[in-house]
């Protein structure tokens, strides 16, 4: 490369003085976009959140507590906790089993299995509830058999638990499968060669490696279990004090214009949502920090070499 390109002095003043990098937009554009984003998210996300708490406390703290301590409300809270308390552990075990089979092995029919597991994600909750009514309802397939044995599933607690399990079973599996897949099987092979049994390998090596994905899946599963509305509404029968979960109770209160009480119960659920988001953010932050630490160590090693 010999010589330099001579600048034509006459053109310099004609070029714009640009003080920003070539790959960013002008300040004006940037702040317009940021402003639009903030407005959009503010209107669609922050506003609903704010209104829940505003309406809950509108009639004062005393009314708030009274609404929550009302017997039907307490019954709803208990039922919600029961349904989630059964659904989440069961779906946890399922999620681990499914993720193990799908994430670590290659077999025929894997895609079909994954599609089946993702089914509740794409089916309307009302349809999910309907399916169980068709099976266990009075006119359902097993209706007469259940009636004969004095068992009631639909319009009773078992139906609610069942519907909750159905709509939340994919969550843990969905989170775990990519994690287990990405890890490969070298560590498990190492454990086996070192003499560990299958269960020892699973509990000491595989499970700890996916704890963040597991936690995240459980949190999402729980949030959905406690908040499910459509499916539970279909199977519930709306019997006050007996077959109402918190979301259903909110609906009843709202429909009878008891807004303060409705939003009081709703605020508990909103709080749960915020905790869910908090845990999710914490998990992601933790994962990002670990990745950054790893990168830092690798860079330091390169520098040493």
């Amino acid at each position: 490369m010999g010589g330099t390109i001579a600048l034509n002095p006459g053109n310099i003043s004609a070029t714009r003085k640009v003080t920003r990098r070539a790959t960013t937009e002008s300040l004006a554009v940037r702040w317009t976009l940021i402003g639009a984003t903030v407005m959009f998210l503010g209107i669609f996300l922050f506003l609903p959140l704010a209104v829940v708490f505003a309406q809950a406390f509108e009639k004062g703290l005393a009314t708030y507590w009274a609404s929550l301590r009302e017997p039907d409300a307490l019954a709803a809270i208990r039922l919600t906790l029961l349904a989630a308390g059964i659904a989440v552990p069961l779906n946890l075990v399922f999620g681990i089993a499914a993720a193990w089979a799908i994430g670590k092995f290659e077999f025929v029919g894997k895609s079909l299995l994954i599609t089946l597991i993702d089914l509740p994600f794409s089916v309307s909750p009302v349809v999910s509830g309907l399916i169980y009514v068709l099976l266990f309802g009075l006119q359902g397939l097993m209706g007469p058999w259940l009636a004969r044995h004095n068992l009631q599933i639909i319009f009773a607690v078992p139906g609610i638990v069942l519907a909750t399990i159905f709509v939340t079973f994919p969550f843990v599996a969905h989170e775990l499968i990519p994690v287990l897949q990405a890890q490969g099987q070298e560590e498990e092979e190492a454990a086996l060669v070192l003499g560990a049994s299958g269960w020892q390998t699973f509990f000491r090596v595989s499970l700890p490696n996916c704890k963040w994905g597991l936690l995240y899946g459980v949190i999402l599963c729980n949030a959905r279990a406690m908040g499910e509305f459509g499916a539970v509404s279909v199977v519930s029968g709306h019997i006050r004090g007996l077959t109402n979960t918190m979301p259903l109770h909110v609906e009843i209160l709202y429909n009878q214009y008891d807004f303060a009480a409705a939003f009081a119960v709703a605020s508990l659920l909103a709080l749960l949502a915020l905790v869910t988001l908090l845990v999710k953010t914490a998990v992601e932050w933790r994962a990002r920090r670990q990745a950054a630490q790893l990168a830092l160590w690798s860079a330091q090693e390169e520098a040493k070499a």
């Binding site: 190492a190 070192l194 003499g195």
Partner: protein, 353 residues
């Protein structure tokens, strides 16, 4: 513990990784499985470990048939190419793992495990890093931990899968020598897989050269380097120049137009450069590139038939000759290897001076 693999065949789908491979490893030996990617060496190692199962054939440890025995019951130590350290456990916990998962009746006490782990940490010279996590270690350190972990359960056989493949050159050399020393002390039957012929030649007691699912030759480093059994072995162990030649009585001449198909192999350091022709085999060439590399001078010349020839001269010899680019010279092979019918099968070899 001696290892005997007999007639091992393994296919992955359409790909045949091993064709009826047999190998005997006497107790206490350090054997290298050497070959290019796809030669089946890692597959053979994993079959010995029990991480894969052969389609047919047997594996025996000390004469006992363990072909169908599970990996965890074989008491082998395995060191993975990418270490496979348990990322959420400290160095200490990693090394202690094998000891902690033993069935209760054989399991040592906590103190015994503690002592054993520290003994191993001393051996691998990482005493201060017991509390670190694998992500906080360098590649060389991780590999040493992997080795200590494998040795903790006192295996009768040690298997290493390209143990130094992902490390820097300097670290690789250090660990190579360290492995050799370790073996000299401990005398555990060891098999390691590598594609680096220098590594195999330097470390191993014996080398099994593999290619395309078969063993081409088994022998001491000296044997496989100086008395290769096939063109592949010769080619793989060290740089080589390849010519076509003609064999008249005792006299071999390099003749690219020879139709008889004799392949002649000469290592770059066994070619000499002269300014005059001699009586023996020789050919003309033009110097194209001169590259000084440490104690050697590497020269690339263009032979009279248009193909490149690589010659290695000592610095002294180069200084004596005072060669320059584009100079016309004669190249004389000091030692050649001929494989008759050089089309992959061979009948024997001839060394002609």
């Amino acid at each position: 513990m001696s290892i005997e693999a007999r007639n091992i065949t393994k296919q992955f789908g359409q790909f045949a990784a091993l064709h009826s491979v047999s190998l005997e490893i006497p107790s206490g030996e350090l054997v290298a499985l050497l070959g290019p990617s796809g030669s089946g060496k890692t597959t053979l190692l994993r079959i010995i470990a029990g991480l894969e199962f052969a389609d047919s054939g047997t594996v025996r440890f000390d004469g006992e048939d363990i072909t169908t025995v599970q990996a965890r019951d074989r008491k082998v130590g395995f060191v993975f190419q990418h270490y496979a350290l348990f990322r959420h456990m400290t160095v200490f916990d990693n090394i202690a793992f094998g000891l902690r998962v033993q069935p209760r009746k054989w399991r040592r006490s906590k103190e015994q495990i503690h002592d054993k782990v520290h003994e191993l940490l001393k051996l691998i010279q990482l005493k201060n890093l017991a509390g670190r996590y694998p992500s906080q270690l360098s590649g060389g350190q991780r590999q040493r931990v992997a080795l200590a972990r494998a040795l903790a359960v006192e295996p009768s056989v040690l298997l290493l899968d390209e143990p130094f493949g992902s490390l820097d050159a300097k670290v690789r050399l250090e660990l190579r020598r360290w492995l050799r020393q370790l073996h000299d002390e401990v005398h555990i039957t060891s098999v390691f897989v590598t594609h680096d012929q220098e590594e195999a030649l330097e470390v191993a007691d014996r080398i099994a050269v593999m290619n395309e699912g078969k063993i081409e030759q088994v022998g001491s480093p000296d044997e496989v380097y100086h008395h290769p059994a096939s063109p592949f072995v010769y080619n793989f162990l060290g740089n080589v120049n390849l010519f076509h030649g003609r064999l008249d009585e005792e006299r071999l001449s390099i003749d690219e137009k020879a139709a008889s198909g004799n392949l002649v192999y000469v290592r770059p350091h066994l070619l000499d450069i002269h300014r005059q022709a001699t009586n023996g085999s020789h050919f003309r060439a033009t110097i194209k590139h001169i590259h000084s590399a440490g104690p050697l001078v590497k020269i690339e010349a263009l032979a009279e038939w248009g193909a490149p020839v690589h010659v290695e001269l000592s610095q002294e010899r180069f200084r004596d000759l005072q060669l320059a680019k584009n100079e016309a010279v004669f190249i004389i092979p000091r030692e050649m290897k001929v494989f008759r019918n050089g089309k992959g099968t061979f009948d024997g070899e001839n060394t002609i001076h």
